[in-house]
Symmetry: C2
Subunit: 338 residues, 2 copies
């Protein structure tokens, strides 16, 4: 008989469909979407030498003192050429008799993670991931100054099945003038848990998962990486800091090395376990100027796209997962190298 599990943090339900269970290694064989990519692609707007194909950079780390928008960078941040939101203009709320809308003010930026077209965060050095995180932190700190903005989202789409059309390694930032509905729901659920139990639900999750042991992928001094008890997708993987905090970037640059190391180990394990799977990686943290420090806890969710959300999932919010997180965690642990 299958089992319906509830996520403690969000109260979300997931059906662990053992009747249609797949073994982790069966998935690995079927999901590789990788076609070999060259180190340099002349048509790629993110490759060095093509800097004019993007809007002017807002940040870049260069080893020498080269001019902006020229080669020589290690990490480069540019506005998205087809932005969902733009930084100019005022936030105007339109609320006539019925239909509510807000002007599309915000930011949509791309962190080009490497000059090498076929690099992957799963295989680059920890130091290089640190550079990418530092660039993200710098942009977060800049965007947080903008009082028109309410939320800054950081996410990475890897592979076509995860909605990425460009293969050159990149991460995106979208800053919105409105609070995301699902962020609000997640924080509200965390607040209810805190009011009920006087403990952060994520802190309690870490402790209970460490005690249980079955779903832990990696534990470092600073982070726990686990397959959540109510994983929605096969190989859903969360990276949770042991240190309780509502946001990753509290305004000053925190040391990035521990996160870079945990992230690199996790992505490397997924890469080798599943053959460079399509995935979405999303930072979950509190909205700007929203003080929920006691009860919310930032974390990173990695969602491999090994299955397609269909009508049942989209209509009910209940997920069906064919791989037990205990099994995917055990499988992943074999790919975790020190």
């Amino acid at each position: 008989m299958s089992e319906i599990r509830q996520d403690q943090a969000t109260k979300r339900w997931v059906i662990m469909a053992t009747e249609r269970a797949k073994r982790p290694r069966d998935l690995a064989a079927t999901v590789s979407t990788t076609e070999p990519e060259p180190e340099y692609s002349p048509d790629c707007p993110f490759c060095p030498g093509n800097e004019s194909k993007t809007p002017p950079e807002v940040l870049a780390y260069r080893e020498g003192d080269g001019p902006a928008d020229s080669p020589g960078w290690q990490v480069r941040v540019v506005p998205n050429a087809f932005p969902a939101l733009r930084p100019d203009g005022e936030v105007v709320v339109s609320q006539p008799h019925w239909f509510t809308s807000v002007t599309g003010v915000g930011a949509h930026e791309v962190i080009v993670e490497s000059p090498v077209h076929n690099d992957s965060p799963a295989t680059v050095s920890v130091e290089h991931i640190g550079l990418v995180l530092q660039a993200a932190a710098e942009r977060f700190m800049a965007l947080q100054q903008d009082r028109r903005l309410c939320y800054v989202a950081l996410f990475r789409n890897n592979g076509l099945a995860a909605g990425s059309s460009l293969t050159h390694p990149h991460t995106q930032i979208i800053a919105t003038p409105i609070a995301p509905t699902s962020v609000r729901l997640e924080i509200e659920a965390a607040r209810q848990h805190y009011d009920d139990r006087i403990h952060c639900v994520y802190c309690e999750t870490i402790q209970n998962e460490l005690d249980a042991g079955q779903r832990i992928v990696l534990e470092t001094d600073a982070f726990v990486v686990l397959e959540p008890f109510a994983s929605r997708w096969p190989f859903e993987t969360w990276l949770i800091p042991k240190q309780h905090a509502a946001v990753l970037t509290p305004g000053d640059a925190s040391p990035v090395e521990p996160l870079a190391r945990a992230l690199r180990t996790t992505l490397n394990a997924l890469y080798h376990a599943l053959g460079d799977p399509a995935y979405n990686l999303v930072l979950h943290e509190a909205p700007l100027r929203d003080s929920c420090e006691d009860y919310y806890h930032w974390h990173i969710e990695i969602l491999p796209r090994l299955a397609t959300a269909a009508g049942f999932e989209l209509g009910t919010g209940i997920w069906i997962n064919s791989v037990l997180p205990e099994e995917s965690a055990e499988y992943l642990r074999d790919f975790v190298s020190a």
Copy 2:
């Protein structure tokens, strides 16, 4: 500048990304996933003659008096061979110190809509869709008697991109012993609206959309079909009954012809406008024995899978849509035939 729209019913936000806008007819050219299928496929478990490849039928409509699980049926309902949930056993809630789960008791059935392997609800007769709806209503009425169950979901996945692995036309029913989180949220939002305004948010939506006119695809005596103001996906299409009711199947068989006709016209328009697109169709209605008659309003949502939800959507619940519903509605209206 793009525009961020809010759905009145759910308070969900959608970025209408005019910067990356696509014309409706450009989508039509790129999304066809149809490969010609034969009328009969010897390996298909849903084709006539292969009845033994499915679990024994729970309902079938035959013109003659043929035995169960033999050819001659027009519509046939069988348990899913790889069910997410099973009807045997008790609903046992397990709540040890931390991890919450429920036994996977419920139902997972397949309505095989036609004996013809390559039929489509977009092109079959209205009478035949009526038969499928009647079968669904019969199964709903049977499942509603089971006090272990809390919700009955009806959905249709069309095409691989919508999560369907079998091309033979079919609709699915999953009945769960727990209330779906997103159904609860939708109903709670409707209740808040009702308490604020003493009107059902869906009734008000119908009236305001008819007044605006721009997003209406079809109006019949009984139904309004529209592209919602805050459409998440290109060509998201809702079918809302004019008659306020919280559930489609209140326990006795209601006349199915008006719904069959509206549904067939809508699916036919999408089929010809977009070239048999992948889509999910989901019935939204109240949970069993949950009396929210004043403020909730059943409806059907059709979600063409012309875009991939990526990290931003999955992490924030904010959607980015590149096609304005005003434009998709105008385009679809050209494909609505009487």
